[in-house]
Amino acid sequence: MMREQRTVIVWPSLLAAALVAAACSDQTNLNMAPHRPSFWGGVEECPTGKWTGGGRMDPPNPDFDDGATGTSTLEGKVTFGFNVFLGSDGDGRCIVTKGEIEVNHHPSHTSWHVSIHNGQDAYGETVFAELIDPDASGRGACLLVGVDPITARVDGNKGTDQVQMELCDNDRGAPQNSRTDAMRWISTGYGDTDLTYLTGGNIVDHGS
């Protein structure tokens, strides 16, 4: 058992040392012409990726470091859960290709739900997204879902609302309970929570 463990450690170490030594030797003599990746087209590529999370927040509790305004018009307990996949549309714009979002505002007993399939919400609107990595605080990354507001079902099928959601994964590598993840829910009909630190739960940018 011990021998296996040592083998696992030794071989990667030797490989690492060899790579660094080879790369740092003075025998390089390469073409120095400017080079850009073959996909370069002057437009920023939208990274594929997945974000998942859920929990509770209690606005106002603003995350100023990531751009909270300090003004919350949708206050009180909010619980939520989501799972979204990022991709690009035909024009290279960043979109949510599929996902589910559920948000509950407890003081007003209001529930929102957004379902996204093939890049569109249930009402045929493309769900544009914007990834900010690193984010303004430098603690992680933030994702805006619904650069153009999207349509959510309200309280089951009792109505609709235009919404946007912002998520910040700020606790990468940080101790649990650092409580630096943040979420913002903007509802045309009910108000704006502002970018708010979570009271409990987690937001995870878990890559492609």
Partner: protein
């Protein structure tokens, strides 16, 4: 000049590759399984029963992926046992290269248990489990209740687990927390915000027998190898 710059670019690239490989080896210890479930109410008494509702169960997650499930109910009434409204259950989970986790939340409002023996304006159960290369952990942060009254006694939320007798009925555990896992490769947590244990009086041999239970606000999450 260009040669010098290229030299350092190669150094940096190699260093980045080494860091990436190292992260890859570390990532191997991140949890490869996640689970979650949440429900607002459950009744199982000699007189009445109602299953876990509304129930949200995290679908199977494999590879590096994520999922979300939710369920809602506008109102629930089980005569002489429980009434409540604005019932919501959500669970989500993800498996990533550097972090895996699951989080669940269940809530209910206007709660009335056993014809007013226990009342509350609102209950929220919230749990999360998380695994990174440095270990696995869970907590129930975000759980709470509002204006809870047990047998005429107001109970203030304070993060503590509280057990109270219900004379002639049994007892209730508030903010009941059930941890699981080894904290290294696995971790889990179930929180039941209001858990009523109905008991019959002891017979000649003494000791009470549990005859039923009522749960309001239950959320579970776990990560494992």
């Amino acid at each position: 000049m260009n040669s010098m710059r290229m030299h350092w670019v190669n150094c940096l690239a190699a260093f980045g590759l080494v860091v990436g490989l190292t992260a890859g080896f570390m990532g191997a210890s991140v949890a490869q399984s996640v689970a979650g479930q949440a429900y607002s109410t459950y009744v199982n008494t000699p007189a009445a029963s109602s299953g876990q509702a509304p129930l949200a169960v995290l679908p199977a997650v494999s590879g590096t992926d994520g999922a979300e499930a939710d369920a809602q109910g506008s109102a629930l009434s089980v005569p002489d046992a429980l009434s409540s409204d604005f019932l919501n259950s959500i669970t989500s989970g993800e498996i990533g290269t550097t972090e895996s986790g699951a989080q669940s939340t269940a809530s209910a409002a206007h709660i009335n248990i056993l014809n007013g023996l226990i009342t509350a304006d609102e209950v929220i159960a919230n749990v999360m489990s998380r695994s990174t290369a440095s270990g696995a952990a869970s907590n129930a942060d975000g759980s709470t209740f509002q204006n809870l009254v047990v047998a005429g006694v107001p109970v203030t939320w304070g993060d503590d687990v509280v057990a109270m007798d219900l004379p002639g009925v049994g007892y209730v555990v508030l903010n009941e927390q059930i941890p699981s896992g080894d904290g290294v490769t696995s971790s889990g947590m179930t929180v039941n915000m209001i858990h009523v244990y109905l008991q019959s009086a002891g017979g000649l041999l003494g000791g009470a027998t549990t005859t039923g239970e009522i749960i309001v606000g239950s959320a579970s999450s776990s990560v494992g190898p």
